[in-house]
């Protein structure tokens, strides 16, 4: 909620997320995992990591991760 809305963000559809963790595997320095395996997303995605973030969103087995671009 504190990130500027003009930034590229990742968002999770929480009811779909099953904590498979592929997003964390692909972007370990941007996406962390909490105590139960669910992703902790960064405030925004740096411009040079957008392609990787898109790949992480594609890799999600439940398509729960979305990349939102302004």
């Amino acid at each position: 909620m504190t990130a500027p809305t003009t930034a590229t963000r990742l968002r999770v559809d929480w009811p779909s997320c099953d904590a498979h963790g592929l997003c964390h595997e692909l972007l370990p320095d941007l996406i962390g995992l909490d105590d139960w395996g669910f992703p902790i997303l960064p405030e925004h995605v740096p411009a040079d990591r957008v392609l990787e973030a898109r790949a992480a969103a594609k890799a999600c087995p439940k398509l729960a991760l979305r990349l939102l671009q302004p």
């Binding site: 929480w14 395996g37 669910f38």
Partner: protein, 442 residues
Amino acid sequence: MTTQAMPSQLATLPLTPSEDLLVLPGPALLADVASRRVSGGIGSGGDPSLRDHRARWGEPTMLGLDALHALTDAAGVRGRGGAGFSFARKLATAARHRSLGRAPFVVVNASEGEPASAKDAALARTSPHLVLDGALIAARALGAREIHVIVPGDRPRTRGLLLAAVAERTTDPASSGVRWLTHTTQARFVAGQARAVLELMAGRPGLPVTAWEPEAVRGHRGRATLLSNAETWAHVGLLALEGLGRTLGRGTAAEPGTTLLTVHAPGRPVTVQEVEHGLPLGAVLPASARSGPILLGGFHGTWAAGSDVVDLPISAAAFRERRLALGAGVVIAPGLGACAVAWTERIVAHLASESAGRCGPCRNGLPALATAVADLAAGRPGARAEVARLCGLVEGRGACAHPDGTSRLVASLLQAFPEEVARHEAGRCGARQHLIESEAVR
């Protein structure tokens, strides 16, 4: 000899809604209410029927979209469901996202999922047709052909009154051209959340889902949906019926009008009271509740010391400035001698059990937070740090604001009563100690 009053009975923790209310007369929405205790049946004096409502107000004048927008904008009508969003802006958004052949929908959310809140129940008993007129006026302005009224499954009396009021509309000529539909929520804390309501309307379980867009943009059946709390609609209705001047004559210049509060205090039934914005909070608190801890905004709200907030004006801006939240207008004053830590422990345990269970961080995080708060209350070492960590961990990570609200409650406990928390960490309890001390000197 102590000069403090003996701690009187403490208020009961309102985990389930009470249908036994005291509704006090107020300056606007509750103007026609003779002060009465409304339990079981309708109290004497005042009949919430459509006939009486029309006798009092006449037929509502239908407003065009621009006129309604200007009116609600000038009066600063804000949502009363807890978020406090500008009604005029929401109206404009819904209007912008209409399209040919896809008429928008109007939804009256009277489900009152927060068990400690009773203001919508009070409106159902005293002025349901102010609520419905507000929705009708907006529906006409937007060109909506359906008004959906969401009624609470866990408050049978309220539900019955609302259904009766809606039934009267189907034979009311002024309400023609619009279909009135009703939906009943399950008895769950999160069932009143906007997306949960939309799910219920779509025939699916009434639990929250992720909203990629606001419902005013894309809601029921993919169309613009203007969903507001029952009290919000009542304010819109009253505003249209009595005119802008009367509304601007109440409250403050920055925040005109009034707000309904549900007050829980020791030795009193649950009381619903209407206050003009700007009045100090102390005006609604009986003496028994002015000292001791106070929970503002209900179970997703914020703790404060009674003495700190007695003079706090009831206004969104003033509350925000003090990092407090008015939420849906719930004020719980457990009473002098109540232990805020123990109350928080029980509330958080309840909130954890009320999770829809759809989102991992909430399903796992809230029970963990509840355990951590219980550990804190019991004086286990390291609990405070764990509580703080879990508060940060669950915030913003769910389809609805349930984890956020729970986190806010716990964080406010640490913020408002650091000494009491420290006492619990050391294995003591200030409230209990106070109780022992006052008994000793009696």
